[in-house]
Protein backbone atom coordinates (compact mmCIF):
# COMPACT_ATOMS: atom_id res chain seq x y z
CA UNK A 1 0.00 0.00 0.00
CA UNK A 2 2.82 2.36 0.87
CA UNK A 3 4.47 1.55 -2.43
CA UNK A 4 1.23 2.25 -4.30
CA UNK A 5 0.83 5.55 -2.53
CA UNK A 6 4.28 6.65 -3.57
CA UNK A 7 3.47 5.88 -7.19
CA UNK A 8 0.08 7.56 -7.06
CA UNK A 9 1.18 10.77 -5.46
CA UNK A 10 4.04 11.22 -7.90
CA UNK A 11 6.11 12.98 -5.30
CA UNK A 12 9.79 13.39 -5.81
CA UNK A 13 11.62 12.38 -2.63
CA UNK A 14 14.71 14.34 -3.62
CA UNK A 15 12.99 17.49 -4.82
CA UNK A 16 14.38 20.44 -2.92
CA UNK A 17 12.14 23.33 -1.96
CA UNK A 18 14.40 25.90 -0.39
CA UNK A 19 11.48 27.97 0.90
CA UNK A 20 10.21 25.07 2.91
CA UNK A 21 13.28 24.08 4.91
CA UNK A 22 12.15 22.42 8.15
CA UNK A 23 8.66 23.83 7.62
CA UNK A 24 5.73 22.44 9.57
CA UNK A 25 2.95 20.51 7.83
CA UNK A 26 1.17 22.57 5.20
CA UNK A 27 -0.90 22.06 2.08
CA UNK A 28 2.15 21.79 -0.21
CA UNK A 29 4.08 19.50 2.12
CA UNK A 30 1.50 17.43 3.94
CA UNK A 31 3.84 16.32 6.72
CA UNK A 32 6.24 19.23 6.52
CA UNK A 33 9.73 19.36 5.04
CA UNK A 34 13.16 18.27 6.20
CA UNK A 35 16.43 20.14 6.62
CA UNK A 36 16.98 20.43 2.87
CA UNK A 37 13.40 21.36 2.12
CA UNK A 38 12.39 17.95 0.84
CA UNK A 39 8.91 16.67 1.47
CA UNK A 40 8.88 14.36 4.50
CA UNK A 41 5.86 12.46 3.20
CA UNK A 42 7.54 11.73 -0.11
CA UNK A 43 10.71 10.62 1.61
CA UNK A 44 8.80 8.44 4.06
CA UNK A 45 7.02 6.69 1.22
CA UNK A 46 10.20 6.28 -0.73
CA UNK A 47 12.09 5.08 2.33
CA UNK A 48 9.52 2.44 3.17
CA UNK A 49 9.81 1.01 -0.33
CA UNK A 50 13.53 0.46 0.12
CA UNK A 51 13.05 -0.78 3.69
CA UNK A 52 10.43 -3.32 2.69
CA UNK A 53 12.54 -4.47 -0.22
CA UNK A 54 15.59 -4.98 2.00
CA UNK A 55 13.48 -6.66 4.67
CA UNK A 56 11.92 -9.09 2.18
CA UNK A 57 15.19 -9.95 0.46
CA UNK A 58 16.97 -10.45 3.79
CA UNK A 59 14.11 -12.52 5.17
CA UNK A 60 14.03 -14.79 2.12
CA UNK A 61 17.80 -15.25 2.03
CA UNK A 62 18.15 -15.89 5.75
CA UNK A 63 15.22 -18.27 5.66
CA UNK A 64 16.74 -20.29 2.81
CA UNK A 65 20.12 -20.49 4.51
CA UNK A 66 18.76 -21.10 7.99
CA UNK A 67 16.24 -23.71 6.91
CA UNK A 68 18.88 -25.53 4.88
CA UNK A 69 21.30 -25.66 7.80
CA UNK A 70 18.54 -26.57 10.23
CA UNK A 71 17.27 -29.38 7.99
CA UNK A 72 20.71 -30.85 7.50
CA UNK A 73 21.51 -30.67 11.21
CA UNK A 74 18.17 -32.07 12.29
CA UNK A 75 17.99 -34.74 9.61
CA UNK A 76 21.44 -36.22 9.90
CA UNK A 77 21.95 -35.62 13.61
CA UNK A 78 25.12 -36.82 15.30
CA UNK A 79 28.38 -35.20 14.42
CA UNK A 80 27.01 -33.01 11.60
CA UNK A 81 24.39 -31.70 13.96
CA UNK A 82 26.89 -30.96 16.70
CA UNK A 83 29.22 -29.12 14.36
CA UNK A 84 26.45 -27.00 12.82
CA UNK A 85 24.99 -26.18 16.19
CA UNK A 86 28.40 -25.12 17.48
CA UNK A 87 28.58 -22.68 14.59
CA UNK A 88 25.12 -21.30 15.30
CA UNK A 89 26.07 -20.98 18.97
CA UNK A 90 29.02 -18.84 17.98
CA UNK A 91 26.79 -16.58 15.90
CA UNK A 92 24.31 -16.45 18.76
CA UNK A 93 27.07 -15.20 21.04
CA UNK A 94 26.94 -11.85 19.27
CA UNK A 95 24.01 -10.03 20.82
CA UNK A 96 21.29 -8.57 18.60
CA UNK A 97 22.44 -6.42 15.77
CA UNK A 98 26.07 -6.30 16.91
CA UNK A 99 27.18 -8.73 14.24
CA UNK A 100 25.30 -6.79 11.57
CA UNK A 101 26.93 -3.58 12.80
CA UNK A 102 30.34 -5.22 12.70
CA UNK A 103 29.87 -6.56 9.19
CA UNK A 104 28.38 -3.33 7.91
CA UNK A 105 31.34 -1.51 9.44
CA UNK A 106 34.02 -3.51 7.68
CA UNK A 107 32.15 -4.01 4.41
CA UNK A 108 31.33 -0.32 4.17
CA UNK A 109 27.94 1.32 3.66
CA UNK A 110 25.58 0.63 0.78
CA UNK A 111 22.52 -1.40 -0.02
CA UNK A 112 24.25 -4.66 -0.97
CA UNK A 113 26.58 -4.62 2.02
CA UNK A 114 23.66 -3.77 4.26
CA UNK A 115 21.80 -6.81 2.98
CA UNK A 116 24.83 -9.06 3.50
CA UNK A 117 25.36 -7.71 7.01
CA UNK A 118 21.74 -8.28 7.97
CA UNK A 119 21.81 -11.80 6.52
CA UNK A 120 24.86 -12.75 8.56
CA UNK A 121 23.00 -12.44 11.81
CA UNK A 122 19.50 -13.37 10.67
CA UNK A 123 19.80 -17.01 9.65
CA UNK A 124 20.52 -18.37 13.12
CA UNK A 125 16.97 -18.29 14.44
CA UNK A 126 15.67 -20.16 11.39
CA UNK A 127 18.39 -22.76 11.73
CA UNK A 128 17.52 -23.39 15.38
CA UNK A 129 13.79 -23.49 14.76
CA UNK A 130 14.08 -25.81 11.76
CA UNK A 131 16.54 -28.11 13.47
CA UNK A 132 14.33 -28.55 16.50
CA UNK A 133 11.28 -29.31 14.41
CA UNK A 134 13.17 -31.60 12.04
CA UNK A 135 14.58 -33.58 14.94
CA UNK A 136 11.10 -34.46 16.12
CA UNK A 137 9.62 -34.90 12.64
CA UNK A 138 12.48 -37.20 11.68
CA UNK A 139 11.14 -39.89 13.98
CA UNK A 140 7.51 -39.53 13.01
CA UNK A 141 5.97 -42.62 11.56
CA UNK A 142 5.24 -41.23 8.12
CA UNK A 143 8.88 -40.21 7.64
CA UNK A 144 10.15 -43.56 8.86
CA UNK A 145 7.68 -45.34 6.60
CA UNK A 146 8.74 -43.34 3.58
CA UNK A 147 12.37 -43.98 4.38
CA UNK A 148 11.90 -47.69 4.67
CA UNK A 149 10.13 -47.64 1.32
CA UNK A 150 13.35 -46.30 -0.14
CA UNK A 151 12.57 -42.63 -0.54
CA UNK A 152 15.65 -40.53 -1.24
CA UNK A 153 16.88 -37.97 1.24
CA UNK A 154 15.84 -34.92 -0.84
CA UNK A 155 12.41 -36.47 -1.30
CA UNK A 156 12.08 -37.21 2.40
CA UNK A 157 12.95 -33.62 3.22
CA UNK A 158 10.99 -31.89 0.49
CA UNK A 159 7.85 -34.02 0.57
CA UNK A 160 7.63 -35.35 4.09
CA UNK A 161 9.28 -32.81 6.36
CA UNK A 162 9.28 -29.36 4.80
CA UNK A 163 5.51 -29.05 4.28
CA UNK A 164 4.97 -29.64 7.99
CA UNK A 165 7.41 -26.87 8.79
CA UNK A 166 5.94 -24.30 6.44
CA UNK A 167 3.32 -22.74 8.69
CA UNK A 168 5.78 -22.19 11.53
CA UNK A 169 8.26 -20.69 9.11
CA UNK A 170 5.69 -18.33 7.60
CA UNK A 171 4.86 -16.98 11.04
CA UNK A 172 8.54 -16.66 11.93
CA UNK A 173 9.15 -14.83 8.66
CA UNK A 174 6.46 -12.25 9.39
CA UNK A 175 8.02 -11.41 12.71
CA UNK A 176 11.44 -11.38 11.16
CA UNK A 177 10.38 -8.80 8.56
CA UNK A 178 9.59 -6.45 11.42
CA UNK A 179 12.86 -7.13 13.19
CA UNK A 180 14.89 -6.82 9.99
CA UNK A 181 13.23 -3.46 9.35
CA UNK A 182 14.20 -2.32 12.84
CA UNK A 183 17.74 -3.59 12.31
CA UNK A 184 17.96 -1.87 8.93
CA UNK A 185 16.69 1.37 10.43
CA UNK A 186 19.20 1.02 13.29
CA UNK A 187 22.08 0.61 10.87
CA UNK A 188 20.90 3.52 8.73
CA UNK A 189 20.48 5.53 11.92
CA UNK A 190 24.14 4.86 12.69
CA UNK A 191 25.04 5.87 9.15
CA UNK A 192 25.92 2.31 8.13
CA UNK A 193 22.97 1.55 5.92
CA UNK A 194 21.34 3.34 3.06
CA UNK A 195 23.28 6.45 2.14
CA UNK A 196 22.11 9.98 1.40
CA UNK A 197 20.50 11.29 -0.71
CA UNK A 198 18.39 8.12 -0.75
CA UNK A 199 15.67 8.21 1.83
CA UNK A 200 15.62 5.71 4.69
CA UNK A 201 13.65 5.87 7.90
CA UNK A 202 16.69 5.35 10.06
CA UNK A 203 18.58 8.13 8.34
CA UNK A 204 15.56 10.42 8.56
CA UNK A 205 15.27 9.73 12.27
CA UNK A 206 18.91 10.67 12.72
CA UNK A 207 18.37 13.94 10.86
CA UNK A 208 15.22 14.45 12.87
CA UNK A 209 17.14 14.11 16.13
CA UNK A 210 19.71 16.57 14.84
CA UNK A 211 17.06 19.20 14.12
CA UNK A 212 14.87 18.31 17.05
CA UNK A 213 15.20 21.69 18.73
CA UNK A 214 14.01 23.64 15.69
CA UNK A 215 11.68 21.20 14.04
CA UNK A 216 10.30 18.58 16.45
CA UNK A 217 7.60 17.58 13.95
CA UNK A 218 10.24 15.92 11.76
CA UNK A 219 11.36 13.33 14.30
CA UNK A 220 7.80 12.88 15.55
CA UNK A 221 6.36 12.08 12.14
CA UNK A 222 9.10 9.65 11.19
CA UNK A 223 9.06 7.92 14.58
CA UNK A 224 5.31 7.52 14.65
CA UNK A 225 5.30 6.08 11.15
CA UNK A 226 7.97 3.58 12.05
CA UNK A 227 6.18 2.50 15.20
CA UNK A 228 2.86 2.06 13.39
CA UNK A 229 4.49 -0.01 10.69
CA UNK A 230 6.24 -2.31 13.17
CA UNK A 231 3.02 -2.70 15.14
CA UNK A 232 1.08 -3.49 11.98
CA UNK A 233 3.53 -6.17 10.90
CA UNK A 234 3.61 -7.72 14.37
CA UNK A 235 -0.17 -7.77 14.53
CA UNK A 236 -0.21 -9.45 11.13
CA UNK A 237 2.17 -12.02 12.59
CA UNK A 238 -0.12 -12.60 15.57
CA UNK A 239 -3.08 -12.98 13.24
CA UNK A 240 -1.23 -15.45 11.04
CA UNK A 241 -0.17 -17.44 14.07
CA UNK A 242 -3.74 -17.68 15.30
CA UNK A 243 -4.97 -18.64 11.84
CA UNK A 244 -2.36 -21.29 11.28
CA UNK A 245 -2.59 -22.41 14.91
CA UNK A 246 1.11 -22.74 15.43
CA UNK A 247 2.18 -23.37 18.96
CA UNK A 248 5.42 -21.50 19.30
CA UNK A 249 7.67 -22.14 22.21
CA UNK A 250 8.41 -18.50 22.83
Amino acid sequence: MAVLAGRLLQLNPNLIDLNAILSTPSSTHLLGADDLGRSILARLLHGVEVSLLVACVVTILTMLLGVFIGLVAGFYGGRVDRLLMQITDIFLAFPGILLAIAFAAVLGPGLTNLTIALCMSGWVSYARLTRGQTLSLRNRQHVQAAESLGASVPRLIMVHILPLLSSILVVEATYSIASVMIAEASLSFLGLGIQAPDASWGGMLRDGVRYMLVAPHYVLVVGLSLMSLILAINLAGDYLRDQLDVRTEK
Partner: protein
Amino acid sequence: MIKRLIGLVTVVFGVLLVTFLLIHLVPGDPVEVMLGESASSADRVVLRAELGLNQPMIIQFGHYLQRLAHADFGLSIHSKTPIIELVKTRYPATLKLAFVSLLIGLGVGLPMGIFAALKAGKWQDLMVSLVSVRLSAMPAFWLGPMLMLIFAVWLGWLPVSGMEANTSIVLPALTLGLGLSAILTRMTRTSLLEVLNDDYIRTARAKGLSESHVIIHHALRAALLPIITIVGLQMGSLLAGTVITETIFSWDGIGRLLVESIEKRDYPVTQACVLLVALSYVLVNLFTDMLYQLADPRVKLVYAV
Protein backbone atom coordinates in the same frame (compact mmCIF):
# COMPACT_ATOMS: atom_id res chain seq x y z
CA MET B 1 28.85 -28.16 34.49
CA ILE B 2 32.00 -29.46 32.81
CA LYS B 3 30.14 -29.91 29.55
CA ARG B 4 28.79 -26.41 29.87
CA LEU B 5 32.31 -25.07 30.30
CA ILE B 6 33.60 -26.98 27.27
CA GLY B 7 30.76 -25.52 25.24
CA LEU B 8 31.69 -22.11 26.60
CA VAL B 9 35.29 -22.50 25.54
CA THR B 10 34.32 -23.42 21.97
CA VAL B 11 31.96 -20.47 21.75
CA VAL B 12 34.58 -18.07 23.07
CA PHE B 13 37.09 -19.49 20.61
CA GLY B 14 34.60 -19.03 17.79
CA VAL B 15 33.90 -15.47 18.86
CA LEU B 16 37.63 -14.76 18.83
CA LEU B 17 37.93 -16.29 15.38
CA VAL B 18 35.03 -14.29 13.96
CA THR B 19 36.31 -11.00 15.37
CA PHE B 20 39.77 -11.83 14.09
CA LEU B 21 38.42 -12.52 10.61
CA LEU B 22 36.42 -9.29 10.64
CA ILE B 23 39.42 -7.19 9.75
CA HIS B 24 40.14 -9.45 6.79
CA LEU B 25 36.70 -8.79 5.37
CA VAL B 26 37.53 -5.18 4.63
CA PRO B 27 37.23 -4.98 0.87
CA GLY B 28 40.57 -4.35 -0.76
CA ASP B 29 43.61 -3.62 1.35
CA PRO B 30 42.71 -2.78 4.96
CA VAL B 31 45.88 -0.73 5.32
CA GLU B 32 44.92 1.38 2.33
CA VAL B 33 41.40 1.88 3.65
CA MET B 34 42.58 2.80 7.13
CA LEU B 35 45.31 5.22 6.17
CA GLY B 36 43.65 6.76 3.16
CA GLU B 37 45.21 7.30 -0.23
CA SER B 38 47.52 10.11 0.82
CA ALA B 39 49.56 7.95 3.22
CA SER B 40 53.20 7.48 2.46
CA SER B 41 54.40 4.01 1.55
CA ALA B 42 56.62 3.96 4.65
CA ASP B 43 53.57 4.45 6.86
CA ARG B 44 51.85 1.63 5.07
CA VAL B 45 54.70 -0.75 5.61
CA VAL B 46 54.79 0.15 9.30
CA LEU B 47 51.06 -0.38 9.79
CA ARG B 48 51.08 -3.58 7.80
CA ALA B 49 53.86 -4.96 9.95
CA GLU B 50 52.17 -3.68 13.10
CA LEU B 51 48.96 -5.45 12.22
CA GLY B 52 50.97 -8.46 11.12
CA LEU B 53 49.11 -8.50 7.82
CA ASN B 54 52.20 -9.69 5.95
CA GLN B 55 52.18 -13.05 7.71
CA PRO B 56 50.12 -16.18 7.06
CA MET B 57 46.61 -16.09 8.51
CA ILE B 58 47.15 -18.87 11.01
CA ILE B 59 50.21 -17.18 12.50
CA GLN B 60 48.31 -13.90 12.62
CA PHE B 61 45.54 -15.60 14.55
CA GLY B 62 48.10 -17.09 16.94
CA HIS B 63 49.60 -13.67 17.57
CA TYR B 64 46.14 -12.24 18.03
CA LEU B 65 45.32 -14.75 20.74
CA GLN B 66 48.68 -14.28 22.37
CA ARG B 67 48.23 -10.51 22.56
CA LEU B 68 44.71 -10.86 23.89
CA ALA B 69 45.97 -13.15 26.61
CA HIS B 70 48.06 -10.22 27.78
CA ALA B 71 45.03 -7.91 27.57
CA ASP B 72 46.71 -6.19 24.65
CA PHE B 73 44.26 -5.05 22.00
CA GLY B 74 46.86 -3.22 20.00
CA LEU B 75 47.03 0.46 19.18
CA SER B 76 44.28 2.69 17.96
CA ILE B 77 45.17 3.85 14.48
CA HIS B 78 43.48 7.17 14.96
CA SER B 79 44.77 8.28 18.35
CA LYS B 80 47.84 6.01 18.57
CA THR B 81 46.94 5.14 22.16
CA PRO B 82 46.68 1.55 23.38
CA ILE B 83 43.10 0.38 22.89
CA ILE B 84 43.04 -1.09 26.38
CA GLU B 85 43.29 2.45 27.78
CA LEU B 86 40.29 3.58 25.69
CA VAL B 87 38.34 0.55 26.79
CA LYS B 88 39.19 1.01 30.45
CA THR B 89 37.45 4.37 30.55
CA ARG B 90 34.55 3.43 28.29
CA TYR B 91 33.56 -0.01 29.46
CA PRO B 92 32.53 0.92 33.03
CA ALA B 93 30.23 3.62 31.63
CA THR B 94 28.43 1.01 29.53
CA LEU B 95 28.20 -1.39 32.46
CA LYS B 96 26.70 1.36 34.61
CA LEU B 97 24.16 2.20 31.94
CA ALA B 98 23.24 -1.45 31.38
CA PHE B 99 22.90 -2.06 35.11
CA VAL B 100 20.65 0.95 35.74
CA SER B 101 18.55 -0.01 32.70
CA LEU B 102 18.18 -3.52 34.03
CA LEU B 103 17.04 -2.13 37.39
CA ILE B 104 14.48 0.06 35.64
CA GLY B 105 13.35 -2.86 33.51
CA LEU B 106 12.87 -5.10 36.54
CA GLY B 107 11.50 -2.30 38.72
CA VAL B 108 8.80 -1.45 36.22
CA GLY B 109 8.27 -4.80 34.52
CA LEU B 110 7.82 -7.10 37.50
CA PRO B 111 5.23 -5.03 39.42
CA MET B 112 3.32 -4.28 36.22
CA GLY B 113 3.31 -7.95 35.27
CA ILE B 114 2.12 -9.02 38.73
CA PHE B 115 -0.54 -6.32 38.68
CA ALA B 116 -1.76 -7.41 35.26
CA ALA B 117 -1.83 -11.07 36.30
CA LEU B 118 -3.87 -10.30 39.42
CA LYS B 119 -6.32 -8.24 37.41
CA ALA B 120 -6.36 -10.69 34.49
CA GLY B 121 -9.22 -10.04 32.12
CA LYS B 122 -10.19 -6.76 33.73
CA TRP B 123 -9.66 -3.34 32.17
CA GLN B 124 -6.47 -2.73 34.16
CA ASP B 125 -4.94 -5.83 32.58
CA LEU B 126 -5.99 -4.60 29.15
CA MET B 127 -4.42 -1.21 29.76
CA VAL B 128 -1.13 -2.74 30.87
CA SER B 129 -0.91 -4.99 27.84
CA LEU B 130 -1.89 -2.12 25.54
CA VAL B 131 0.96 -0.01 26.88
CA SER B 132 3.50 -2.85 26.88
CA VAL B 133 2.70 -3.90 23.31
CA ARG B 134 3.26 -0.35 22.15
CA LEU B 135 6.44 0.03 24.19
CA SER B 136 7.92 -3.13 22.76
CA ALA B 137 7.29 -1.86 19.22
CA MET B 138 9.44 1.18 19.99
CA PRO B 139 13.05 0.70 19.02
CA ALA B 140 15.64 2.59 21.06
CA PHE B 141 16.31 5.09 18.32
CA TRP B 142 12.71 6.20 18.42
CA LEU B 143 11.96 5.98 22.15
CA GLY B 144 15.24 7.76 22.95
CA PRO B 145 14.59 10.87 20.86
CA MET B 146 11.00 10.98 22.12
CA LEU B 147 12.08 10.95 25.76
CA MET B 148 14.69 13.54 24.90
CA LEU B 149 12.08 15.73 23.24
CA ILE B 150 9.63 15.52 26.12
CA PHE B 151 11.83 15.59 29.22
CA ALA B 152 14.86 17.51 28.05
CA VAL B 153 13.61 19.87 25.35
CA TRP B 154 9.98 20.63 26.27
CA LEU B 155 10.01 20.16 30.03
CA GLY B 156 13.69 20.87 30.55
CA TRP B 157 13.86 18.56 33.57
CA LEU B 158 16.86 16.53 32.46
CA PRO B 159 20.02 17.17 30.47
CA VAL B 160 19.69 16.52 26.72
CA SER B 161 22.87 14.47 26.44
CA GLY B 162 26.39 13.98 27.69
CA MET B 163 27.32 12.49 31.02
CA GLU B 164 28.41 15.42 33.15
CA ALA B 165 25.38 15.76 35.39
CA ASN B 166 24.27 13.05 37.81
CA THR B 167 20.89 12.99 36.12
CA SER B 168 22.43 12.38 32.69
CA ILE B 169 21.97 8.66 33.03
CA VAL B 170 18.19 8.88 33.51
CA LEU B 171 17.14 9.29 29.87
CA PRO B 172 19.45 6.71 28.26
CA ALA B 173 18.67 4.25 31.04
CA LEU B 174 14.94 4.84 30.63
CA THR B 175 15.26 4.31 26.88
CA LEU B 176 16.81 0.90 27.40
CA GLY B 177 14.92 0.00 30.55
CA LEU B 178 11.41 0.74 29.33
CA GLY B 179 11.84 -1.51 26.31
CA LEU B 180 13.00 -4.29 28.60
CA SER B 181 10.18 -3.67 31.07
CA ALA B 182 7.58 -4.09 28.33
CA ILE B 183 8.83 -7.58 27.58
CA LEU B 184 9.21 -8.43 31.27
CA THR B 185 5.67 -7.28 32.00
CA ARG B 186 4.21 -9.67 29.48
CA MET B 187 6.44 -12.53 30.54
CA THR B 188 5.70 -12.04 34.25
CA ARG B 189 1.99 -11.88 33.56
CA THR B 190 1.91 -15.10 31.54
CA SER B 191 4.12 -17.15 33.80
CA LEU B 192 2.37 -15.96 36.94
CA LEU B 193 -1.03 -16.76 35.47
CA GLU B 194 0.14 -20.27 34.64
CA VAL B 195 1.26 -20.83 38.21
CA LEU B 196 -1.69 -19.20 39.96
CA ASN B 197 -4.03 -22.04 39.06
CA ASP B 198 -1.76 -24.71 40.46
CA ASP B 199 -2.81 -26.90 43.36
CA TYR B 200 -0.14 -25.74 45.75
CA ILE B 201 -1.28 -22.14 45.41
CA ARG B 202 -4.79 -23.21 46.36
CA THR B 203 -3.31 -25.10 49.32
CA ALA B 204 -1.36 -22.03 50.40
CA ARG B 205 -4.48 -19.93 50.19
CA ALA B 206 -6.51 -22.55 52.02
CA LYS B 207 -3.93 -22.49 54.83
CA GLY B 208 -5.09 -18.93 55.35
CA LEU B 209 -1.92 -17.25 54.20
CA SER B 210 -2.29 -13.66 53.17
CA GLU B 211 -2.66 -13.03 49.46
CA SER B 212 0.59 -11.05 49.29
CA HIS B 213 2.47 -13.89 51.01
CA VAL B 214 1.05 -16.40 48.55
CA ILE B 215 2.01 -14.26 45.58
CA ILE B 216 5.49 -13.34 46.71
CA HIS B 217 6.66 -16.55 48.38
CA HIS B 218 4.78 -19.22 46.48
CA ALA B 219 3.71 -18.05 43.06
CA LEU B 220 6.49 -15.65 42.13
CA ARG B 221 9.23 -18.07 43.06
CA ALA B 222 7.91 -20.64 40.62
CA ALA B 223 7.24 -18.01 37.98
CA LEU B 224 10.80 -16.78 38.27
CA LEU B 225 12.41 -19.31 35.93
CA PRO B 226 10.99 -18.07 32.64
CA ILE B 227 11.56 -14.51 33.83
CA ILE B 228 15.25 -15.17 34.43
CA THR B 229 15.52 -16.72 30.97
CA ILE B 230 13.96 -13.68 29.37
CA VAL B 231 16.18 -11.29 31.32
CA GLY B 232 19.25 -13.25 30.22
CA LEU B 233 18.15 -13.26 26.61
CA GLN B 234 17.21 -9.61 26.71
CA MET B 235 20.59 -8.64 28.12
CA GLY B 236 21.80 -9.29 24.59
CA SER B 237 19.55 -6.72 23.02
CA LEU B 238 20.28 -4.46 25.97
CA LEU B 239 23.99 -4.65 25.21
CA ALA B 240 23.41 -4.11 21.50
CA GLY B 241 20.92 -1.36 22.35
CA THR B 242 23.62 0.52 24.21
CA VAL B 243 25.31 1.12 20.85
CA ILE B 244 22.34 3.15 19.61
CA THR B 245 21.36 4.69 22.93
CA GLU B 246 24.88 5.83 23.71
CA THR B 247 25.09 7.42 20.28
CA ILE B 248 21.81 9.29 20.76
CA PHE B 249 22.66 10.60 24.22
CA SER B 250 26.42 11.06 23.71
CA TRP B 251 27.06 8.61 26.55
CA ASP B 252 30.75 7.78 26.42
CA GLY B 253 30.53 4.03 26.64
CA ILE B 254 31.82 1.17 24.58
CA GLY B 255 28.91 1.39 22.13
CA ARG B 256 29.72 4.95 21.23
CA LEU B 257 33.38 4.03 20.96
CA LEU B 258 32.35 1.36 18.47
CA VAL B 259 30.37 3.81 16.33
CA GLU B 260 33.16 6.38 16.48
CA SER B 261 35.74 3.81 15.48
CA ILE B 262 33.60 2.79 12.52
CA GLU B 263 33.32 6.39 11.38
CA LYS B 264 37.09 6.83 11.66
CA ARG B 265 37.79 3.44 10.07
CA ASP B 266 39.80 2.57 13.14
CA TYR B 267 39.32 -1.16 12.65
CA PRO B 268 41.42 -2.46 15.57
CA VAL B 269 39.17 -0.46 17.92
CA THR B 270 36.05 -1.76 16.15
CA GLN B 271 37.38 -5.27 16.54
CA ALA B 272 38.08 -4.80 20.24
CA CYS B 273 34.64 -3.32 20.92
CA VAL B 274 32.79 -6.10 19.11
CA LEU B 275 34.85 -8.69 20.94
CA LEU B 276 34.22 -7.14 24.35
CA VAL B 277 30.48 -6.79 23.88
CA ALA B 278 30.20 -10.36 22.60
CA LEU B 279 32.27 -11.75 25.46
CA SER B 280 30.18 -9.81 27.98
CA TYR B 281 27.10 -11.41 26.50
CA VAL B 282 28.60 -14.88 26.75
CA LEU B 283 29.40 -14.23 30.42
CA VAL B 284 25.89 -12.91 31.07
CA ASN B 285 24.48 -16.09 29.59
CA LEU B 286 26.65 -18.24 31.79
CA PHE B 287 25.57 -16.21 34.80
CA THR B 288 21.93 -16.65 33.80
CA ASP B 289 22.38 -20.40 33.70
CA MET B 290 23.86 -20.33 37.18
CA LEU B 291 21.00 -18.20 38.48
CA TYR B 292 18.66 -20.73 36.98
CA GLN B 293 20.07 -23.42 39.15
CA LEU B 294 19.78 -21.16 42.16
CA ALA B 295 16.14 -20.40 41.48
CA ASP B 296 15.23 -24.00 40.88
CA PRO B 297 17.43 -26.63 42.52
CA ARG B 298 15.89 -29.27 40.26
CA VAL B 299 17.70 -27.81 37.28
CA LYS B 300 21.08 -29.34 36.61
CA LEU B 301 23.41 -27.54 34.32
CA VAL B 302 23.52 -29.62 31.20
CA TYR B 303 24.89 -28.14 28.07
CA ALA B 304 22.34 -29.22 25.52
CA VAL B 305 23.77 -29.23 22.05
